[in-house]
Amino acid sequence: MWETLAQAVINGLLIGGIYALVSIGVTLIFGVVKIVNFAQGEFVMIGMYISFFLANQFGIDPIVSLVVSMPVLFVIGVLIQHFLIRRVLGPNDMPQIFLTFALSLLLLNLALMLFTANYRTVHTSYSDEAFHIGGLYIPVAKLIAFVVAMGLSGALWVFLHTTDLGKAMRAASQNPDVAMLMGINPNRVFCVALGVALALAGAAGSLLMPFYSAYPFVGQTFVLMAFVAVVLGTLGNVIGALVASLMMGVAESLGIQFVGADSGLIVVFAMLLLTLAFKPTGLGGGRAR
């Protein structure tokens, strides 16, 4: 019994690491730029296709192709902020919602056109391997993804707390007007926030590639969980999103194990409802950090 339970927790934590990368990106954009990026899942998809083609054409390991997918998506993020989002920032939320939603639809259909709906997988030497400890097992590909995801999250935390640019981003997220008065260029900060958030999505894509298939709709699977995690962990709170993602991974896994394989999401959403009922600002205590 404890073995099954422990295995379920391990499974949940490992997939939670991937949810974390996606949700941190969403929460960072919301915290700094104050918009909800509905297209975040599609950037995960782009990251996956970048890794797929690098692996397929040049035999580059998907984990190694992080060094390509992250910078590429960073640049895409900066361009999107500079040429698209900047123009719709204002008191009215609607244009922003339509913009990111349209972007999501556009990227999805573009992918359908260019790559077709076929599933693409990359097979690495460690794709099917697992460490066996006692009666438990830990898949190698997922462990690597989890460790790298946690490393990137840690690096982001250090960036936000120790560098001037990071501090400027936090300042802009806490009070944009005061930050501007202090000489912070909001567009520059917003560009970096978008870039970093998309780079994380790209990283999630590359890390997924050794054990998950790439297809145009793949982002939708992950972005739903990311949105729940963002709300659960308080909008704009990076640490909150991280913790909430891991919790959700575990809740989903336990739900499948002990409630039913088609009820994994029920447990996740029950958790969300309970949190909203008793702590409406989310587990992060309502503070954007």
Binding site: N11, I15, S127, S213, D262
Partner: protein, 417 residues
Amino acid sequence: MKKDRKASVGNKGDLTQGSPKRQSRRQFLVKTGGILAAGAFGAVPLRGWAADPINIGALYPTTGSMAQIGVGCVSAAKLAIEMINEAGGIKSLGGAKLNLIVSDVQSDTTVTRTETDRLITGNKLSAIHGCFASALTLIASEVCERAKVPIITGSSSDQLNKGRNYTFTPFARASQFAKAQLQMAKLVGDKPKVAVIFENTAFGTSTSNGLKELAPGEGVEIVMFEPYSAGFTDASPLINKVKASGANALFSVSYLNDLILIVRTVKQVGLNVAINGGSGGFVIPDFYKNVGKLAEGLQGVAHWNHDMSDDAQKVNAEYKKRTGEFLFEYAGGLVAQTFMLADALERAASADPQKVRDALSTLDVSKGYAAMAPGGKVKFGPDGKNVYGHPVGVQWQNADLASVFPDEDKRAPLMKT
């Protein structure tokens, strides 16, 4: 000298004056010769009918989510038509050639309805084949019934055999697939304990319920019966459950992506179960490309397989030469279907769809390309079902699909995993 000059000067005049005469003489010879020759050899074009090609409609999703399979079907359909035409066409119609008219149904039910209508009203068709996916074929079949044009299909839905007169299904029906899967489980061990996991969709629920109903009759114990939400991110918790159930065989009613995750996770867990992936996306070359060596030993069921007979292997070799991949279930069955149509046309000696339909209903073949079906015999019952129709059990062996069940269709021994 003089003569020469005269001749050279007069050259022009000779040409202008002489040429109408010469031409008319030549024309006269050509005309009379032609008529004489036509009379002598009984020139075919003068009779008018035999030069008309026989139009066969082909409805396949060549764009949209099922495009890959649809495109494969069209290549197979073209190959079959070429084979028939090269062998002399339909002899009872003076060697008339078959002409394939392809229409894209875009993996969409609404488009299927309009395209079928358009194909029938815009062309003089003798018969139609299509559409791979049962959901699309059901609609095309309805339109064909109303227009009284025969349709032949490899789609497996049992619905296609209900209240229809122009629909012919030469291959195994959906209800037969479940039974074959259960019987295959008994090959793996004497006391099969089967875990059935299925996606919680119409397809998953109906297929798995079929398995559940038939299991007691086949002496197969189902130890786990669990729906899951299609498109999950992680198969580990589900496989954890399979492990806890103590099953020695796993039936997964899933689409490609979920199945890939399930197969990989089973390997990671180190679980020793025989996996049966069913039909559809499991028996196409793409599955092996995605799963790789892990696919080795995996079992499935199909209505056609390329190693069934010498004829099938011959067609497979040609298809492989053209496309680089083996002839998959649906496309292979389609080649056989085209030959069944040719057989009916030959006996009907007419391109009239009603006469082709009548000839199809009395089709009875046991040799040649038209008989390429598991069991090697095709004869339609009153419901349009092949009375000898049954599925073939297949297994991935050395990057290829081998027929392993039942004994009469077996071409390779079952590999124990």
